[in-house]
Structures are given as C-alpha cells and as structure tokens.
C-alpha cells in the first residue's frame, strides 16, 4: 500500500497510510524530535516511488533542515540516494543532540493556549509553568502569565465571599457532580478518574484551588497518591 506525507504546518508532518521499509522508519525517526527537522517538500514522495526502487532511482524534490530560529533552510534539490543517505546520517546526531523536544512541546502548547480565553488559558499556562519549573526554569518563566494574578488560580466557586452567594443553598455545576463522583469512587479502584473524584471530595476542605492541592492518602485505600496537576 502506498503512503503519503501530509504537511500540517511548515514544521510538522504526519504519516498517513501504511508502508514498510527502511525509508519510512528512518524518516519517522528523524522528523518528530529534535530542534532540526529534515523536511521534504514533496507531497507524495513515498506514494509514487515503490520502496524497493528507492535505493537506486528515487529523487527527492527538496530536502532541508528546519531550524526554529531561522525557518526552513533548503539544503539540496533533486538529490539521489547516496547524498540523501549521507544527509540523513548527518541529520541524526543533530536531531538527537538538541534540547528541542520540550521546546517544541512548549511552542505547540503556547499556540494552542493562545486560542483559549482567560481565565482558562492563564490556568493552563500556570500549570505548564509549574510542570517545567524544576528542569526548564527559563521556559517556565516565559509561560507564567503576567499581571497581578500571575501564578494564582481562581478560587473554587464555593470559596466565593458569602455576600456574593444567593440566600438559598448555592449548588454549582461542579458541586452537583460530586454525588455521582462519590458513587464512582467505589467503582474506580484503578481508574484515571480516581484523582478527580478524590479531589472533588476534598475541595470543600481545601483552601486552595483543587487542581493544585497536594495530598497523601492513607496506605491501601487509594494507593499512595500524591495529587497534583
């Protein structure tokens, strides 16, 4: 079966369809990680060329390196197999050496986050900054939202000042979901859902936003969990 490259963006390619052979493995190995990506500007490179003829007759339309700071740097056009192989072997250590994976993930996250309005976007950025803080403080600093509320999460609805609350018992949507959550805990002894259940149930006693509370639970009940997101 043939295969096709589909360019999502100038820096990102995805592999559509199936194929076999060294070429696909090599390209997949090269393209996802690293600060320098080997880029093909050839829309149906592998679809048109059977894998078994790749070694002798294949031409690559344009091959270059993508450098985040400089953009796409064209290296060569109309290249035959030996040069292609050489370039791959040059590219491999370059890709493997760089710190790019986390940086790329941050770039992607920032792009996604820019479409999210406040306060959600700010919450995501703060969470990401906390995740990055230990190993990439410079990236964490960059992500931390600016302004007086930087690094702070909005309080849970139940913590609003009493004067803002209606006279009748206030039940928010998230409060309303606590009851089924409580029931789910019994069913979800090994589920990803468990931290959320526990967190929701903890929230009335928590003085911080539930998403950043950290707690250790008794051994043997939930497993030993340290909740933090």
């Amino acid at each position: 079966m043939g295969s096709k490259w589909r360019a999502k963006s100038p820096t990102e390619f995805s592999f559509v369809g199936t194929s076999s052979g060294w070429d696909r493995d090599l390209l997949e190995w090269l393209c996802p990680p690293g600060p320098l990506w080997l880029v093909h500007h050839f829309p149906n490179l592998l679809a048109n060329i059977p894998a078994d003829t790749m070694s002798t007759t294949a031409h690559l339309s344009v091959v270059g390196l993508y450098v985040p700071e400089f953009g796409f740097v064209e290296v060569v056009r109309q290249m035959r197999f030996p040069l292609w192989t050489a370039l791959v072997w040059i590219g491999m250590p370059l890709c493997a050496a760089g710190p790019g994976t986390v940086q790329q993930a941050v770039q992607r996250f920032e792009a996604m986050c820019s479409k999210v309005p406040a306060p959600l976007g700010s919450q995501f950025r703060t969470t990401a900054a906390k995740v990055l803080e230990a190993r990439h403080p410079e990236l964490a600093q960059k992500l931390m939202p600016a302004g007086p509320a930087a690094g702070k999460f909005p309080p849970a609805p139940r913590e609003e000042p009493a004067s803002h609350l209606p006279k009748q018992p206030y039940i928010s949507s998230s409060d309303a979901s606590v009851k089924p959550l409580r029931m789910l805990i019994g069913l979800s002894s090994s589920s990803i859902w468990r931290p959320r259940c526990v967190r929701c149930l903890l929230a009335p006693q928590s003085s911080t936003w539930p998403g950043i509370c950290a707690a250790r639970f008794p051994k043997g009940i939930w497993g030993r969990r340290r909740l933090r997101l």
Binding site: A111, V131, S189
Partner: protein
C-alpha cells in the same frame, strides 16, 4: 473501569462543564481520558486542545528524562543505555494496591517478550528493605529500581501511581498509562512499540 464506563465518565464530565465556572483541572481530566483512554472527544473545544497539548508537554519532559537508578541487584539502569530495547517504565509502591495488581501482568509480559527486547523497569521511591522484602516474597524477575529522592518521579511528572511509560527502540515515548493496566491494555501499549 471498562471502555463504556470510561466513555460515560467523559460524557458526564463534559456535561458538568456546561455553564460551570472555567476550571482547568476538569479540562485536564477530560483531556487525559481522550488522550490516554482513547475516548472520543465529546466536542471540539480550543481549551480541550490546549489541555491535550499540556499533556504532551508533560510527555516531552518524560521523553528527555536522563535518570540513572540502581536496581535491587546493584546494577545501574538508564534510559540512554537501553537504546535499542523496548522499555516499560513503571512507577509503583508496595503500599499501592492497584500497583500490586498489575505487577503480575508485567512479570508475565516480561517473561514473554524479554527475548524480543522488552525491558521492564519498576521504579519505587520506598526504602530498599521494604521493596526487597516484597519482591523476594513475590518472586518477580524484572529489574526493580530504587528512586529514594524521587528524581525520576519528578522527571516523569508522576502525580499518581501506578503510572507507566513505554519507550520504543529509538527511545521515543510511544505510550503512557495513567493508571493500572490490565494485561490486554499492556499488550496494546506494547503493540505501539512493535511488540505483539
């Protein structure tokens, strides 16, 4: 929980988000279900995409982890040294019941696929004596690493156990499990790394 129950949870969660104050943690929970449990997104939402991107950011941190830990038998293991192998990194504790339940599945798969390049690294932050006693009683043969300072846990942003990460032969993170996996779920993960 089975797939139907997980889907129901995701739908309930998505429903609870309607009209509720914006809460990033709920989006992250839903994103986890979509990303790791293969639940269909209940709707298209930019915030959900951002939450998934945040999960991928955490994965990228795990990907670059350069831990080097000592096993119970005294051998030192690192991801870099295991390039060429398929590596299942599992965070666990003797006091964690779900962890204890999945260890036999891991042992079975380790015995089955060990010859084909599967390496299982079970990492615990507990004291050596506690871990050693438990492993000796249970007779597991995969390497059990000690992470007393929790450095590897921090590298992998482990916020709960059990948690598993699978790296393929090129050292790429190809699958992640945010909670206990059954044998069939582990097999699905291994398939992503080319083992079946």
């Amino acid at each position: 929980m089975g797939p139907e129950a997980i889907t129901a949870v995701a739908e309930t969660l998505a429903e609870s988000m309607k009209g509720a104050p914006p809460d990033g943690s709920i989006y992250l929970d839903l994103a986890s279900l979509i990303h790791y449990e293969r639940v269909q997104p209940p709707r298209h939402d930019a915030a959900l995409d951002a939450a998934i991107a945040l999960l991928e950011l955490r994965e990228s941190l795990a990907q670059e982890s350069r831990f080097s830990l000592t096993a119970l038998d005294g051998r030192v293991y690192s991801l870099a040294a295991l390039r060429g192998k398929i590596v299942l990194v599992n965070f666990w504790a003797t006091s964690c019941m779900p962890c204890r339940k999945e260890l036999p599945e891991m042992e079975k798969l380790y015995r089955e696929f060990g010859d084909k390049g599967l390496v299982v690294l079970a990492i615990s932050t507990e004291e050596r004596a506690v871990v050693a006693k438990f492993i000796a009683e249970m007779g597991y043969s995969f390497p059990v690493l000690l992470d007393p300072g929790g450095k590897a846990s921090a590298d992998f942003v482990v916020d709960g156990i059990p948690k598993s990460f699978l790296f393929d032969r090129q050292g790429r993170l190809v699958a992640e499990a945010t909670d206990r996996r059954s044998e069939s779920q582990f097999r699905s993960m291994l398939k992503a790394a080319g083992l079946e």
